[in-house]
């Protein structure tokens, strides 16, 4: 979404907090323009990240067993979460609820339904 904002494909976006802040911090440290600013708060409550392992992993029973282990992530580097390794989830329920924001060039249109 950050590259879409920077390339003017979109003008407004809703996303996970840490992603936006990481992108802004990275841009500042590189002396570059991030291409966006934080303008609104959407969901007040925290997101619950479940921690999972394989069904047969009897050796991993709790968080204390995870130190030094291999953590799978969706992606690093290409998105803003380089080194942070946060999972970028498209939580469709939020998108669908609000449903209806379609950004066309520099206009914001809201679907009346």
């Amino acid at each position: 979404m950050i590259t879409s904002l920077q390339s003017n494909e979109i003008d407004i976006a809703i996303g996970l907090t840490e992603g936006w802040v990481a992108g802004l911090g990275k841009a500042q440290s590189e002396g570059k323009e991030a291409g966006y600013r934080m303008v609104g708060t959407y969901v007040e409550t925290p997101l619950c990240w479940a921690i999972s392992t394989g069904a047969g992993r009897e050796d991993l029973r709790g968080v204390e067993d995870l130190r030094g282990k291999g953590m799978g992530v969706s992606r690093i580097g290409r998105c803003v979460f380089s080194h942070c390794h946060c999972c970028f989830i498209c939580f469709h329920a939020f998108d669908k609820w609000e449903n209806s924001v379609v950004l066309i060039n520099d206009r914001a249109a809201v679907d009346p339904t």
Binding site: A13, C48, G72
Partner: protein, 177 residues
């Protein structure tokens, strides 16, 4: 969030005298949720973190095992806009419309449950549980600088944010509470 997990458990080596810091985990980018589930079963990865309700159906079917959870130490979702839109009446109008959408959602919870459990492939019981965890702000307009500062500090520990940071420069529209 991996680094939030490490920090919460005291696994981040923050000693400035240490010449070599051992990372709390090795990181394996695997692109998709299904690849993450496969990896923890074939042991190419040991664990992953994913949103709770999306993970839950795979606990129910026995594919993966839940071993813990962690909450983001910040409100989960924020709105951003291109800098030149700050002060633009179209942005203000959009936020008012988002507020209307939020009010509709809050008043039509049964419709939300039906939609989530039919269109988004979640169990109805999980949709109801999820609804209990979600609270939108009263007015979406504006960002609390304190929230951004808190997020910056965690990201700094993770090495994602380095150097001086101008929090005010990150926030286009500020709110006090």
């Amino acid at each position: 969030m991996g680094f939030v997990l490490a920090d919460t458990n005291g696994w981040l080596n923050t000693s400035s005298s240490s010449s070599s810091t051992s990372p709390p985990f090795t990181i394996l980018p695997l692109q998709t949720f299904s690849a993450l589930r496969a990896a923890v079963n074939d042991r190419s990865a040991d664990f992953f973190m994913w949103e709770h309700f999306t993970s839950k159906r795979y606990y129910s079917n026995g594919e993966i095992k839940r071993i813990g959870e962690i909450y983001t130490p910040w409100p989960s979702w924020h709105i951003v806009a291109k800098p030149e839109l700050v002060g633009d009446e179209r942005l203000e109008e959009m936020m008012q419309k988002l507020n209307k959408g939020v009010r509709y959602f809050e008043k039509n919870q049964e419709e939300a449950v039906r939609y989530i459990s039919s269109e988004l492939d979640y169990e109805e019981a999980d949709a109801r549980e999820w609804l209990k965890t979600v609270r939108f702000v009263g007015d979406v307009r504006g960002v609390r600088a304190e929230v951004v500062e808190r997020t910056v500090e965690v990201l700094r520990k993770a090495g994602v944010v380095v150097g001086e940071v101008d929090v005010d420069g990150m926030v286009g529209i500020r709110r006090e509470e």
